[in-house]
Amino acid sequence: MDKEISTQKPVAKGAPEKVTNRDIFRAWIRFYFADEIPHSFDRYIAPALMWALMPILRKLYKDEDQLKAAYKRHLLFFNTQISWGGGVLTGIMASLEQTRAQETYENKELTITDDLIYNTKAGLMGALAGIGDSIDSGTVQYIFIAIALPWAQQGSAIGAIFPFVAFSVYQVLIGWYFARTGFKLGRKAATDIVGGSQMQGIIEGLSILGLFMMGILAANYVKVTSSLQWTLSGKKFELQEILNTVLPGLLPLVVVGGVYFYFVKRGLKVTRALIGLTVILGVLAAIGIL
């Protein structure tokens, strides 16, 4: 990704306006609202991020070409979890764009290159998704539900309303906090990323943690077991039982690994993976292997 380093110095059209905390709040709320509305297989939720940043980008780039370039920058593939990933990255992106706009305007050499912006986004989005999904959707959400379930069981509507309201409020609030932190961090990070190793360390750490959490999710969440069994001279054998004596958890891992290697080989073709996996699993289930 580091191929093109765009160091063009365009002529200034107008000074960028200051990005305020209100702008950050607005961007975050826009992101929160749009989030998965434009969900699609090839860009995922990139349009939501772009739409969230739109007002800020308008304030920063008074030059049409610059603005166009900024819009496009945020339409590249993007996916993350709403509050952790969305919060942090809305903030950091706003911060990076602000610095870039300033540099552009002052005709300085660009330290915040296209690549830097995309790499920062790409370097964090997956890791933060792994973390945010497991903590928010996987834990916090179900705590609220577990608390409210008894009410539902007694026929009370509060059992439905409470977790809905509580979780929504929770996500709006922490996302906002993350956005502000990201904005602050981003400003410093902007220079740091170029030379320093601190930001590098943070991205690495988050990537490790993100992958770690995906491992936890895979183990808890992907359910593939063999239902194959056969009888030989009156003795019943179950394949899954045998597999468990060798390597419990083998099958789900094979499936996740298979899809992963498909993406590595063929790129992020999600629809195809979806259909292909459906067919394979369906056939294996039909013939009694799974």
Binding site: Y32, D35, I37, P38, H39, F41, R43, Y44, W51, E64, Y71, L75, N79, I82, G86, G126, A129, G130, D133, I135, S137, Q141, Y142, I145, A152, Q153, Q154, G155, A157, A160, I161, F164, F167, S168, G201, E204, G205, S207, I208, L209, G210, F212, M214, G215, A218, N220, V222, V255, Y260, F263, L268, V270, T271, A273, L274, L277, T278, L281, A285, A286
Partner: protein, 267 residues
């Protein structure tokens, strides 16, 4: 014994709002991942809130822990509830029996949602065009309203038809087919599809060298299943390991620099 037209329409509308994700934005997360609110709405519309809540609580139990890492979900609980609650209310089924209806409907619903993502693939070309023209209204149109419309076009008629005409059919179908091969296949597929979202996220994180940490977590979870370790505990363990790894690396580099300097000094 059947759903009235206005009832079918209102429930279908609710589902379309949830599944197009436009109802309070990110707040639809819980609306979509869990059947509770949908069950409540169905109960209100059908005039038996209290019974509906009891039914949907039973449905919730089978969906505990369901969510969508990387865009995949084994099942679509909101759709499941939108069908199963009316079926159960009108057919006078017990909560447990409603679950038998919910499972296959939820699995089918998951495919409908995937189809939405597929259709949005075309919408995004429009977005690109408007971006090129700096047309902000067009962008809002293509990023928000058209996807919402797509969602409505998909879920509203489907849910309406299902509720208006399908309820007795489904009820009969589920009764005569549960435990058959077709249900087995649906369950297997549902259980395996979560892998796509996870693989996607691993791919997106993109640090191949660190995949051993994925495997470590995977096998830790398998090894420690019996210990019932919570996800937050794992998140903390993961943070600790990540921190120690990065710390060790940095300290080693510093040590190398120090050794290097002191050996430089010798000469």
């Amino acid at each position: 014994m059947t759903v009235q037209t206005w009832q079918a329409f209102v429930i279908a509308l609710w589902v379309a709002l949830v599944e197009s994700r436009v109802l309070f934005g990110g707040a639809t997360t819980t609306l979509r991942f869990t059947p509770m609110m949908t069950g409540m709405v169905a109960g209100l519309v059908l005039g038996n809130l209290s019974k509906a809540m009891m039914i949907v609580a039973a449905i919730q139990l089978i969906y505990m822990g369901v969510f969508s890492p990387g865009g995949q979900m084994p099942s679509e609980p909101a759709i499941a509830a939108a069908v199963a609650v009316p079926v159960a209310l009108l057919g006078g089924l017990k909560p447990a029996a409603a679950v038998a209806v919910a499972v296959p409907v939820g699995l089918l619903g998951a495919y409908l949602y995937q189809f939405r993502l597929f259709l949005n693939t075309f919408v995004v070309h429009l977005t690109d065009k408007y971006a090129e023209k700096l047309n902000d209204r067009g962008l809002t149109l293509s990023i928000i309203w058209i996807p919402v419309l797509v969602g409505f076009a998909l879920f509203l008629p489907f849910m309406f038809v299902t509720l208006k005409f399908g309820v007795p059919v489904i009820s009969a179908f589920v009764k005569s087919n549960s435990g058959t091969l077709i249900f087995h296949i649906l369950t297997v597929i549902g259980g395996g599809l979560a892998s796509i979202g996870i693989a996607l996220t691993v791919y997106v994180i993109g640090k191949k060298n660190y995949i051993p940490f994925f495997l470590l977590a995977y096998f830790m979870t398998v090894m420690f299943t019996k210990l019932n370790i919570t996800m937050v505990t794992y998140a903390i363990i993961g943070s600790i390991l990540a921190f120690i790894y990065v710390l060790g690396k940095n300290e080693a580099a510093k040590l190398a620099a120090k050794n290097n300097n002191s050996s430089d000094d010798e000469f």
